[in-house]
């Protein structure tokens, strides 16, 4: 709340009130007081006293009546004269009282004004915070602004909007989950039906072979084919189980650059034709699970190697710190991602490989590991020159011990 916004009206109010009081008091109060002790009034009273005296002389038998009247007038005249002597003091004290009352009124008015503005400022801030929370994804918000005025109504509207957004989001999440399950069941049935159909056909053929006089070599080939299909099913279900059995990370303070360096040393020859290029900044410490982080990097490298195919290429690993985050960029020199998979890249069973010998779980697992570390895995950029994924992890302060 700006101090000038409060002070300006208060100063104007004080000035206006002071001018008003001074003018009114000087022009009205002082004039009324002058009227009360008018010299003419006093002169008339003096004459009246003289008249009483003359009357008493003229008719002495009135038993002191005129004398009493005289005394009465005399007392009033004396009082007026005393007042006249105290005129300046009375006026100045009257002004002081008026100014004191004015001061009280101004102080009370100013206090009310300041408190009112502070209250409005607080209420506005609350609404602002709520809107910020709403824009940041907050739902079912409680805005601590009561009242039936405009701000109160706005607060109720923000609350009802946040509830509505919450309901819509739940609905969307439910729909998305259903869609994912539908997609998953479709893929599972597809993955299962292929080898099962092949195995069933081979079994039929085996029955025919065993029932006739065929060459035993053909029967052995059929049995081998069935074994291949069942092996494929086995690999698929193991891969499927890996996602479900992904462990909780055991976070310890570690140097991410060191982990990436170690990864390069161990896995530099794991992918034929893939050259690993390092750009490491030290120190870059974070709370990480070394095994899971290497798992994540392996998945990204594996994905990149598959994207580049047999042609080979370069996989760049760069570690840097950006404010509160440690950033690991993993960039390949592959052909880039198809536009249709970019939006659902981290969903399970989404694969960019045309020949789907992978299960489409690598990026989903990598994403899950990043999220479990309190960080994130994002697609930084993709083009015909390559694709870059960025892993971000919360940084540890420099003076933290590295375990």
């Amino acid at each position: 709340m700006s101090i000038t916004r409060v002070l300006a009206p208060v100063i104007v109010m004080v000035l206006a009130a002071t001018i008003l009081v001074v003018v009114v008091e000087r022009e009205l109060s002082a004039a009324w007081f002058r009227l009360g002790v008018q010299p003419q009034v006093m002169s008339l009273l003096e004459k009246s006293m003289a008249d009483q005296k003359r009357l008493d002389t003229a008719s002495p038998g009135n038993d002191g009546l005129y004398r009493r009247r005289y005394e009465e007038i005399h007392r009033v005249l004396n009082n007026l004269r005393v007042l006249e002597h105290s005129r300046s003091r009375i006026v100045s004290r009257y002004q002081a009282v008026l100014l004191a009352v004015l001061g009280l009124v101004v102080v009370a008015g100013s206090t009310t004004q300041v408190l009112g503005q502070a209250r409005e400022h607080r209420r506005l801030s609350s609404i602002q915070d709520a809107l910020q929370a709403l824009s940041g994804g907050g739902v079912d918000l409680e805005v601590p602004v009561r009242g039936r005025d405009g701000l109160g109504r706005v607060a109720r509207m923000v609350e009802s909007t946040s509830r509505l957004v919450g309901r819509q989001r739940k609905r969307l999440e439910a729909m998305r989950t259903l869609e994912q399950w539908q997609d998953t069941t479709r893929r599972i049935s597809h993955q299962l039906s292929g080898p099962l159909n092949a195995a069933r056909l081979e079994l039929s053929r085996l029955h025919e072979l065993l029932g006739g006089t065929s060459d035993p070599g053909d029967a052995l080939a059929c049995a081998s084919n069935i074994d291949t299909q069942l092996d494929r099913l086995g690999r698929w279900t193991r891969s499927f189980a890996r996602l479900g059995r992904l462990p909780e990370p055991r976070l310890v303070a570690d140097d991410v650059a060191g982990i990436v360096q170690h990864f390069e040393e161990v896995f530099s020859s794991a992918w034929p034709g893939l050259h690993l290029a390092m750009d490491l900044a030290r120190p870059a410490r974070a709370m990480v699970d070394r095994d899971l982080l290497e798992h994540l990097l392996t998945n990204l490298a594996d994905n990149a190697a598959r994207a580049m195919g047999g042609a080979g290429g370069t996989l760049g690993l760069a570690v840097s710190t950006e404010g509160q985050w440690v950033r690991v960029d993993v960039a390949d020199s592959g052909p880039g991602l198809p536009a249709d998979v970019v939006d659902r890249l981290f969903q399970p069973y989404v694969s960019r490989k045309e020949r789907s010998d992978g299960m489409g779980l690598g990026l989903a697992i990598a994403h899950k590991i990043a999220l479990d570390h309190g960080g994130d895995l994002r697609l930084f950029e993709t083009s015909e020159q390559g694709t870059t994924f960025s892993l971000v992890l919360p940084v540890l302060p420099c003076n933290s011990e590295v375990e």
Partner: protein, 210 residues
Amino acid sequence: MKAAVFAVVLMPLVVQAAEPRVVVDSATGVVMVRHLAGMLDAPEVTRNLDSGLTNGFVIQASVHREREAAARGAARVDIRWELWDEVYLVDVVAFDGHVTHLKLASKDDLASWWSSAAFPVLSGRGLAAEGSAVVKLVVTFVPFSQSEVEAARRWVTQSGEETGSARNGPNQPEGRSSSAVVNLVVATSIVRRAILRREWTVKLETGGGG
């Protein structure tokens, strides 16, 4: 030339004459103040002398010997013009509380009395014998008495109450009217304040009675 001679020769005499005298009566030992004629002629006094209010002169004297106060005292003179009887009523209150009442028929009588009056301000036994001393004399003039102040205050307060009663109606319980605050302001603003103050420092003289 004549004016210059007058200024050089006669003015000190005039000033000497205007200055009051403080004398220790060798018989009674009372310190008396005399020759306050200049006070009665002051415009602040002459303006109020016939007002009908009690005009008060307060005479304060402090005797100093070798720059240290040796004794102090005061007297008061109240003068009121009584229009009905057309006389000046004078009360002289001495330092010991003794009051002398006088009734003077005219302003001339008053002036005559005032010029020759001696006002007893303190008991100065021993002061004369101890050598030279100076007296710091302060005379103030107040145009009305304390009892008149009280009367005016009562009058103002009663006026306010009557106004409040009249507004509430005769059968209504008497409430505190809004004018009560104004009356309070007015009533408490009425105080006795001197409108004239004169000071002299004169030698303490020793003289005979009267």
